[in-house]
């Protein structure tokens, strides 16, 4: 019988192969995918997140756990088809126009995916028009914007204004992140949320989805 505690430990320690192997075993045995996800996989991600927050785990650990989680989720998701809980929500993410810094945004994207969000990664140097278009095309719940420079963070305001002008402000939540931004800056430009690391970005995204 599939030992789901091993699945929990595999995700917690970021081991993809054993996580996938146990998941396959659990599926073959007909275990409820929602129980596997909620009672073991999400719990493991919550634990690695808690360890990160108190300095007992680091970004690579978070990413490895997210990778293991995603490997298992990819197997389970098809079994949840039609179930509204199969996705935590849909996120459009990008680094704003003028800024080429990629890695922080990719880390957040990876963590969101690992935690069950569907992520559309628009890359770097993303214009307000591209953000608006992506929200419309993908029917996104959340926009995540990133910037590493004080000179490029101001473009986030333009994106917020474009979202408003497109009549999407009440439909989509707007999150921002990156070294120069802060909660006060988020409030100032009309963004819904702010986070200063990948783990808190996931928590904030979950909060925003729960508030919907």
């Amino acid at each position: 019988m599939a030992d789901l505690n091993i699945l929990y430990e595999s995700i917690l320690s970021g081991k993809l192969e054993p996580a996938v192997a146990i998941t396959v075993e659990a599926i073959e045995e007909g275990l409820d995918p929602q129980i596997i996800i909620n009672d073991f996989m999400i719990k493991a991600m919550e634990e690695i997140g808690a360890r990160f927050e108190c300095g007992k785990a680091y970004v690579p650990n978070l990413l490895m756990s997210a990778r293991a989680m995603k490997g298992s989720l990819d197997l389970l998701k098809p079994l949840l088809k039609g179930d509204t809980s199969s996705s935590m929500g849909k996120v459009v993410i990008g680094t704003v126009k003028g800024d080429l810094h990629d890695i922080g945004k990719n880390i957040v994207a990876s963590m969101l995916e690992g935690c069950g969000f569907e992520v559309i990664n628009l890359g770097v140097d993303v214009t307000s028009e591209q953000f608006v278009e992506a929200v419309k095309v993908h029917n996104a719940d959340i926009i995540c914007m990133s910037a590493l420079l004080t000179t490029t963070m101001i473009y986030m305001k333009e994106v917020v204004e474009a979202i408003e002008a497109a009549g999407l402000k009440n439909k989509v939540k707007i999150m921002i992140g990156g070294a120069p931004v802060s909660q006060s800056f988020a409030l100032k430009i009309g963004a819904t949320g702010f986070s200063d690391n990948a783990n808190s970005a996931v928590q904030k995204a979950k909060e925003l989805m729960a508030a919907n």
């Binding site: 990778r67 990719n106 880390i107 140097d125 000179t151």
Partner: protein
């Protein structure tokens, strides 16, 4: 322009800086991450071709926050202006981990291996910094042959020198120095590149450098250890 085409073996990488870039403040990555990091470093040694170059310009400060070099005026800000004030000669430099390394980062990104991408990004930052140390060493050597001393180096984007001024700095170099291009926002391609200035003169006293003099509260270097 004096240029240097390098191999990674020509540079001295500081692994502690890589760990800091990865968010490890005062501790080491676990065995598995160390192995992945070793693989990234091995690959970097195979493919990376860092380049650096510098030119020396005569010139001087104009007021407290501007410098005039080769007929180009750059607003470098008062913090850097204060440190460069005693200099009579200036070394302008660029340093890059190179296009090949950028391509490697892109490949990792395409593969979806975010862990390796993150490790390679941190390694790339340190390669760029090590290349800066190399070219500064060359500038300092040349200054020493004239019995002159050098300041620390300063870069656009830090210590009050706005990144948009990079356009002025690059106008002094030959076109696309060491293969580095600027985009409309004055950011450099390849992304793992650094530009900057170093002051040279008789009455130069090397000052403490680092986050203490900059005061840029939003700098990533302050956040990386938090």
């Amino acid at each position: 322009m004096q240029t240097f085409k390098l191999m990674l073996a020509d540079l001295t990488l500081n692994k502690d800086e890589i760990y800091l870039n990865l968010g490890y403040g005062g501790t080491l990555p676990d065995k598995y991450i160390m192995e992945m990091l070793d693989n990234v470093l091995k690959r970097a040694h195979e493919i990376c071709h860092p380049q650096a170059g510098y030119i020396l310009c005569e010139g001087g400060m104009s007021g407290k926050d501007k410098i005039n070099l080769n007929g180009v005026s750059m607003k470098i800000g008062q913090i850097i202006g204060n440190y460069l004030q005693p200099a009579s000669l200036f070394g302008l430099f660029v340093a890059t981990a190179g296009k090949e390394y950028d391509d490697y980062l892109q490949q990792l990104k395409q593969s979806g291996d975010i862990v390796s991408e993150f490790l390679a990004d941190a390694v790339g930052s340190e390669i760029a910094e090590a290349t800066v140390r190399y070219v500064i060493g060359k500038i300092t050597e040349e200054a020493a042959t004239k019995s002159l001393f050098s300041t620390n180096s300063y870069s656009p984007g830090y210590c009050g020198w706005h990144v948009s001024e990079q356009k002025q700095l690059f106008s002094i170099f030959p076109k696309e120095p060491c293969g580095i291009k600027l985009n409309d926002s004055c950011l450099m391609y390849p992304v793992k590149s650094v530009s900057g200035i170093i002051g040279i003169g008789l009455k130069i006293e090397l000052k403490p450098y680092g986050c203490a003099i900059c005061g840029l509260k939003t700098c990533y270097k302050l956040r990386r250890v938090n």
